[in-house]
């Protein structure tokens, strides 16, 4: 009696998952190392600045991300909030999904929890928060100027 071999999904095959995991870890470590050693404020040419701000003078919702990431890699959480209020929350969500992907590839099944649904008001609320944040950080009046990078 022969046993039927179950074909693994493409992404779980060894010749795919090991290089993919290596690339995921290498890119993140290299990127974090680069941001750790390069200070965007002292070396503005070493990192990409905001095109939107350069051409329009308006802060986009991503302005200050690089500086916030540099502060986070050095452990300055409050300074990271100062550069971009939304960025630490973005980092937490991205890091969580990054670990989910990495562990799924490593163990060939999902071992970490991910949400299966979020309320409708939650999804729409994210967009509203981003738009409000963008508008408020461009108001040059205290206390809104605190949100500017």
């Amino acid at each position: 009696m022969t046993e039927e071999r179950v074909r693994k999904p493409f992404i779980f095959r060894n010749y795919v998952r090991w290089p993919l995991m290596f690339c995921m870890v290498a890119v993140v470590l290299l990127g974090l190392a680069y941001i750790f050693f390069i200070d965007p404020e002292k070396s503005p040419g070493a990192t990409m600045s905001c095109f939107t701000y350069a051409c329009t003078g308006l802060y986009c919702p991503g302005c200050g991300d690089t500086r916030a990431l540099h502060a986070l890699t050095h452990g300055h959480v409050i300074r990271a909030f100062d550069y971009n209020l939304l960025f630490p929350f973005i980092v937490i969500i991205l890091a969580w999904y990054y670990l989910v992907g990495l562990t799924t590839l490593l163990f060939r099944r999902r071992v970490m929890w991910i949400p299966q649904s979020i309320p409708k008001w939650g999804a729409i609320g994210i967009g509203v928060v981003v738009v409000l944040f963008t508008v408020m950080r461009n108001i040059p009046v205290w206390p809104f100027s605190i949100l500017a990078p």
Partner: protein
């Protein structure tokens, strides 16, 4: 009491009709009329039927779709810096895709689940395509307006310097 089929007179239980003399037992048997229900019943029909058991449908998980759409939202916010805000379209598509991915878990049947999954997947793919196109278009536009990579850096620095000077003068 049986009646004669030929003359209609009652036979009185005898084998021969007393009126016409026909043999009672030789007469063809009359089939009883078929029952026909009254199409207009005087009494209303009873609605006391046994309720059928509700069918419970268990949809599959949509964590991967939800994750893809949430990451599209986040990338739409982060990439706003170098796409002139085009990535905000990806953010909006990601938000709508997230709503449909969340509806998968509360689907009542397989068709509804399939439809929600399809819409969420399509919106997620379009969001990532918009992100990619935004970045590619930005780089192509800047390279086309300058003399390659070296010219791009000089052009970018001159724009940045001019805007900074004008902002500083406006602040005075």
């Amino acid at each position: 009491m049986a009646a004669c089929k030929y003359c209609g007179q009652e036979t009185g239980g005898s084998m021969f009709c007393q009126n016409c003399g026909a043999k009672v037992e030789a007469q063809p048997e009359v089939q009883p009329a078929a029952f026909t229900p009254d199409p207009f019943p005087s009494q209303p029909q009873s609605y006391n039927t046994i309720p059928t058991q509700p069918s419970f449908y268990t949809p599959g998980g949509a964590g991967g779709l939800l994750a893809g759409n949430i990451i599209a939202i986040i990338l739409g916010v982060i990439c706003c810096c170098f796409t002139y805000g085009i990535s905000l379209i990806a953010m909006i598509l990601g938000i709508i895709g997230t709503v449909y991915a969340s509806k998968v878990k509360s689907s009542l049947n397989a068709d509804e689940e399939r439809g929600n999954r399809r819409i969420s997947r399509i919106l997620m793919i379009i969001a990532y395509v918009v992100l990619l196109l935004g970045v590619v278009a930005m780089v192509a536009l800047v390279l086309a307006a300058s003399d390659g990579i070296g010219g791009f850096k000089e052009m970018y620095e001159s724009i940045y310097e001019s805007v900074s000077i004008s902002m500083a003068e406006a602040g005075k």
